[in-house]
Every structure is written in C-alpha cells, then in structure tokens.
Amino acid sequence: MAKPLTCDVVIVGAGMTGAACAFYAARAGLDAVLVDRGPVAGGTTGAGEGNLLVSDKEPGPELELALLSGRLWAELAESLGPSVEYEAKGGVVVAATPDELTALSSLAAGQRDAGVRAEPVAADELPDLEPHLAPGLAGAVHYPQDAQVMPTLAAAQLVRASGAELLTGRPVLEVLRTAGGAVRGVRTDRGDVYAPAVVNAAGTWGGEVAALAGVSLPVLPRRGFVLVTEPLPRMVRHKVYAADYVADVASDSAALQTSPVVEGTAAGPVLIGATRERVGFDRSFSLPAVRALAAGATRLFPFLAGVRAIRSYLGFRPYLPDHLPAIGPDPRVPGLFHACGHEGAGIGLATGTGRLTAQVLAERTPDLDLTPFRPDRFPATHDEPRPAEEAQ
C-alpha cells in the first residue's frame, strides 16, 4: 500500500465541481488532494456542453449562485480563457407563440430585478441577431451574460492551476471517521488520504459518497443526450433555445422531455441538446430521444435538416428533488462537506460552488447564504429509491 497522504482537504470527484473546489481551496491557502475513480472529467463533466447560463434560472438562490459563478468565470477567463475555450456568446431564448412570449417576458422581468441582463428582442429584430432562425417566431429575449466553456478542458486546466495533487483511477472505498464521528480522510483502493475535511464533489454519484460517510443525500441521475454535427461556419451565433426549456428544467417528470437547445462552437460543430429523462444509469442509445432532438433543432433552424450529425453522446445530470445543489458542511458528520447535485448546470455553477466551499472550509463567511443548499434539507427516508434501482 502506498504511503498515506496528509493534506487539509480531500476532494472526491475530479469533475468540474471538484476542480473548482480544488482551485479555490488552493487560493484560500489549503492543501488539497483530488481523488477520482476515473480520469479527470470522466463523469457528467465530460458529457456536458459547458453552459454557463443565467437565462434558464428563475429568480432565487440558484440564480444568485449563477450570477456569482458567472462573475468568477469571467475573471478566470482572463487568465485561462483560450485554454478552456471560454466564449461569452450570449443566449437567446425564443418564444414560438404570443402566449409563450408573455410568459418569457415575465420571467425576464423577474430575472432583471435579480440583476440579470435580459434584453427583449422583437420578432423583426431576430434575423439580425440569429440570421438562420426559422421565420414566424413571436419574439425572444437576449441574455448577454450566458457563456460557454469546453468543460473537460476547464476541469483539467483548473486542476492544473490549483496545484492540487490529482489521483485518478482511484476509487474511494471508505470515508474514514474518528471515534467521535468526525471525518479524518478517505480510504482508496491504493492507500489512505488523511485530512480533517472531505468534500463530496462526486456529482451524480454524490449519493454513494454521502452513503460512505453514513449520511443520505438523494442525488438521482437524469439522463440527457447531445447531438453533434459536422463542422460548420458560424451559422448559430448564440446559445439558442426554446422558451419551454425552462419549464423542462424545473419539471419533476420521469418521462422523456425534449426542448431544443442549439449552439455553434468555436471548433465548428453545432451542439444540440437537451433531453431529460429519469431512467437510472441506463447507458443505452435512445433513438426516440435523439430523433426528438433533431426534430426540435430543425424546427428552430431549418437549414440544419441538410447538416449531418456525426456523433451523439449521453450523460447523467446529478439531480436533487428540489433542483438545487447541496453545498456546504454536513451538520450530521463533522468535517464532511458537499458540493454536488447541480443537475444540468454544474459547469456554470462550479466556480461559485468552489468559492463558497473554499470559504466554509477556511471558516470564512461565504459570499452567499448557504441555507437553501443545506445538504441535510431532505427528509431521511430509508425507502427512497436508490439511483441504480430507478431504471425502468
């Protein structure tokens, strides 16, 4: 067995959130070790589109976290920008009907009050903003603060910038506790890592890590597919999506939901999301889900009908029942912290989550009130379905 490592904090999970926790912990002067059973960004991060969005969030704690995160991302972009493919492309949410536009406008008004830049776009102004959009849309709202990074690069570059030790291919088998119940490190398949603090940044698998520490955290997987096209010139300038996407994000349904989310990338391909379904960790390809994506995208951008999809992949969003992440100390286990459960917004919310986590680790006052994100806010039920049993 390898010589035990000692550090200030062990972060379990080398995805985007774990990387951001490591980065801000290092900035706070903490010595961090990152442990992951797979490679860097091997879970949901590597299957994401890298959205940094404020547009899809209703006013409330998640939007506040998104605004904080957006500021931090912009700051990071100055030093890491090109290496993480940061692009402040902005988002455009389109409404197909006058009714949809009314609902969208009232959402935007609330967002504006919360500090979001949300600019109404009349139907006749849309062609200037997005020349290839389908005609006949009722209107849109432009969100200049929406941005994008390449998530795998972002995670890997933040880990590197943090200087934290990265242990990949090392499953965590146990969360070590003192006689008094406090955390004292983790046991991996190749040795122990000792630290007075453990951060659960295991994303969709955060429930399993919480269970290793003896607490319940009901993280469930919500599957999503992404379609990738052949490389194109910049035909889609913003992240463009239909107004019903916001409703899908907030929904609790297990059934397949699709609303088209279309965006061009610096590398050329257009990315098309987003499906949501709760089918456990089922990794099989779903033609109906992908057909629905293609249908939605070609309705928004008719030119896409003649463009070829060259790839499709899937991922599992870490979803908590109230759609808010778990961030902060777990009052049930001294020394245990959580930073997971961000559903489909984890890349965008990672910087804020990392910063808040580092602040509580360093016993400073966090920038945001963590009460809405308390990890023990869910009733402890022993009969709630475990992720693996959720498969239909």
Binding site: P39, G46, A156, G169, R291, A305, R308, A309, R311
Partner: protein
C-alpha cells in the same frame, strides 16, 4: 445480414438454403465486400480475376446469390449504408441511408440479424503520413481492384501484415514499379513458428506463390525494416526506410531514402464494431464476442467474419456459414445440429489458428511511437499533433475518451477510427472501441423524421413471423439540402 462480403454472403446463402427469407444490406454497389471488390460493370473487364485470389470461391458465391435472388429468398439491398441497428420490442431494426449521397432513409426489420461488417485498416502514424501519395495498403488495393487506378508510378509498400504481399503483387502486376516491400516482421519469428506453419500447407503454398510473384516483379523485400518518415512538399517524393534492432527500435545509421510517389502502408486490420457496440453486444477488446454458433450475447444477433476478430476470407466464410445455419435453426425454434456444420467448424478452427499465428509474427515495431515527433499530426481529421496527445496524459487523461475530450483527437469526421490505435500507443491508454451510436453521419433532417410516426402516409413495414422475412420499409427522403 449486414455486409455482403464473404461472411455475410456465406451466412445469407446458408440461411436461404434452409428456407429463411434473407435481406442482405450492403454499402457496396455490388456484392463481394472488400475482399472481392471488382471493377464496376461499365469497365467491361473480361479478366477481373487477374487482381484476385480464390476467384473460384467468388464465382460460387456470386452464382448462388444470383440464384437465391431469382428465387426470391434473398433480397440484396446495394448501396445501403447502415447507421444504426436497434432492437424494437426485441426485434432487430436496421436503419440505413440509401444511395451514394447517403441521405434517403430505409428501415428494415427482421427476426434475426447477422453482423458481418468486416474490418478496416489500422495505420500507425509517422512523420509525413498525411502527405498526398501516402495511402493505406488496403486503400491502394481497393482503388486498383474497384477503379483500375494507381496512385502513381513508383510505390513503396510498407508496414506489417499479410495484406502487404497481395498489395505489392497487385500494384506490380498492374504496372506500378514497386521499389520495396518494407515489413517490420522479423524473419526468424517465422522460423520459430515453423512447426505450426507446417500445419497450414495451403497457406504456405499461397505464401510461396506471392514470393514468386514478388521475385518475378523484382520487388525488394526489406524485412525487419520500417518507414521512419515520408517526405515531400505538397506530395510524396521519397520515404526514409531504416532497419530495426532486436528491441524494435530504429538502428541508427541504417536510414536510406527511396524515391517514390506512392506509399501504401498498413499495420493490420481492425474490426468494424460500431453497430454491435451500440446494440450492447459484449466485446472482447476490439472484437465482438461470439459463441460456437456465432451468436453474440444479445438475443437475435449473430456476428461473423472480421468483426469477431481479424482472420481473413476463409475464416469469414466458415463463420458466416455457421451463423447462417444457426439462424435457420433458431428461427424455427430448434437447437441446431452442430454435426451438420462440422466441416465448417474445422475450417474455422484451422483459420483461427492460422490467424493467431500471423498475429504472433506480424507486429509493428515495438517502439513505433518514438517515431512520432511532437509536431507529427496524429489525428488526421482535427490535425492534433503527437505533442498535444502526449500532453493530455499530464492533464489527467487515462483513457481514449478523455484524451479525445482534451485534445479533439478522434472528434472529427472519422470519429477516431484512424487515430485511436495511435493515440492508445502514444498515451499508454487501452485501445477500446469508442462508442459511436452513429456508425456513419446522418442528416438531421433524416433523423428528425420518425418512420414509425411519419408525417405523411406511407406503407408500413411488416414483420412476417412465420418465415422471419424482413420487409424493407422505405420512408421518403427528408434530407433536402439547402
């Protein structure tokens, strides 16, 4: 049956002979696959066998196929490019694109599916391998057999593997000057396995025939040598060839230049496993796992030929035959009588033994990756260099997928089919087939239209459960290009 090469045809014929209605779906405009690729009819070739071996076998396959097509037992769908196979309520459903532009959707449903998708060539990079004039060995052969064209006048054939012999012989017979046949295999390894080779007299004879052809065309064979670089400005002008030492490294001072305008290079073949992987078939490394009846572990799905492990045409024929007989029995709810196919099973054993023997002697140089400089392009599609790929390891990549996400190597048009072996070798990651739900690019307009819930009225496919006969269900094209 997906694929009309030796395995797919053998499977189709064996099943059809037992009364099963078969649809053979193939991307070629004519049956034969890569092995029996022939000039198009318009060339009026009166002696196509001049570019082939085992022509008699082909004539038998061709005639039997024509007979079964006439009888209506086999439907042969040519120029159909399969992009996905899924199981709908337990029945395999094949989604293809018809025509050379690959935009007209076709769906075929069946009770049983045989995957005979063949293989493609593995090429390990070296500086200059992206220059025009550098082609895969199989590519040079395919262009010659199918298009009656040569890429240039002076060729070097290089790499390793049994394919290089017919490629060199074919190019020479067709009028190219083959300046050298460069193989990294070590001659004494053949001697070491002499006893096992002796068990394959037919193969030895074939080898001797190639040796005679090479001698007749005065082709120099450089064994235990490798091409270290290809040179030229916008086109291949010469290659550097060097001897290898016992460890598989280039022996300093042995480099020499060979002027040429063509380099046909290959390092063996890889199975086409995309469709099988998406169906959920178990893979053993890069090949599809099958039982002694050629069944995969997915119910109703068989696999035969190169997809189950590279082994050549004889092995493909044997596996296809067994698969076809197994399908025929199983579709009638019967346990197949293995005794009936024992000759094929013996051929299969012999051919598999020979394939492992070839694997033991033909190998790329152990240290081929050292030839890749930091500025050598490794991923041809996305132009990702050796340096970038190596750097990904330092960023925390431990598998091909993460290297891809960090570097874009494998993210382009070919989806990593060309660069995966190289990336694996460079990074020390395991070579495992990447997940490719789309076996080929699909227009979004085609994808957007569900043939089961069509917007326009059209005939629906029907599943004939008595005979297991699939019926083509053609949906109208929605792939209108802007």
């Amino acid at each position: 049956m997906i694929g009309a090469g030796p395995a797919g045809l053998a499977a189709a014929l064996a099943a059809a002979a037992r009364g099963i209605r078969v649809t053979v779906i193939d991307s070629g405009t004519e049956a034969g696959g890569q092995f029996y690729r022939r000039p198009a009819a318009e060339f009026g070739a009166r002696r196509p066998q001049a570019l082939h071996h085992q022509w008699r076998t082909w004539e038998r396959l061709r005639d039997a196929l024509a007979r079964q097509v006439r009888l209506g037992l086999i439907t042969h769908l040519t120029d159909h490019h399969v992009w996905l196979v899924e199981r709908q309520s337990g029945s395999p459903t094949v989604h293809a694109l018809r025509g050379p532009l690959q935009e007209e959707p076709v769906t075929v449903r069946a009770d049983a599916l045989v995957l005979a998708t063949g293989g493609y060539e593995k090429v390990l990079p070296f500086p200059g391998w992206t220059l025009p004039g550098v082609v895969t060995a199989g590519g040079a052969q395919a262009m010659l057999k199918g298009g009656l064209v040569l890429p240039g006048r002076v060729a070097v054939v290089a790499g390793t593997g049994p394919l290089l012999l017919p490629v060199a012989a074919g190019l020479a017979a067709a009028g190219a000057e083959v300046a050298a046949l460069v193989d990294s295999a070590v001659p004494k390894h053949f001697l070491r396995h002499g006893g096992r080779f002796a068990a394959h007299p037919a193969k030895l004879l074939e080898g001797a025939r190639y040796a005679a052809e090479l001698a007749r065309h005065r082709i120099r064979v450089a064994a235990h040598h490798t091409v270290t670089a290809a040179h030229g400005e916008d086109r291949l002008e010469f290659v550097t060839v060097a001897a290898l030492d016992a460890d598989g490294r280039v022996r300093p001072g042995t480099e020499r230049r060979i002027p040429c305008d063509t380099l046909a290079v290959g390092h063996g073949l890889l199975p086409h496993t995309d469709l099988a992987e998406t169906l959920g078939c178990r893979l053993d490394g890069t090949r599809v796992h099958v039982d002694d009846e050629q069944r995969t572990d997915v119910p109703g799905v068989w696999a035969a030929g190169e997809i189950t492990g590279i082994g050549g045409a004889a092995l493909s024929l044997a596996e296809g035959h067994i698969a076809g007989r197994s399908v025929a029995a199983r579709l009638r709810g019967r346990e197949p009588d293995r005794g009936e196919w024992s000759p094929a099973a013996r051929s299969r054993d012999t051919a598999r033994d020979f394939a492992t023997l070839l694997d033991a002697v033909y190998a790329p140089p152990a240290h081929w990756a050292e030839l890749i400089t930091d500025d050598t392009v490794v991923c041809r599609c996305e132009e990702v260099t050796g340096g970038a790929v190596r750097a990904a390891v330092g960023l925390g990549a431990g598998d091909l997928r993460t290297v891809k996400l960090l570097t874009r190597a494998g993210m382009g048009w070919c989806q990593g089919r060309m660069c995966a072996p190289a990336v694996a070798g460079l990074t020390g990651c395991r070579l495992e087939p990447s997940r490719r739900p789309f076996a080929r690019p699909v227009p979004l307009g085609v994808l957007a239209q569900d043939p089961d819930h069509p917007s326009a009225s059209e005939p629906k496919g029907r599943l004939d459960t008595d005979t297991g006969a699939p019926e083509a269900n053609r949906a109208p094209s929605k792939g209108d290009t802007p």
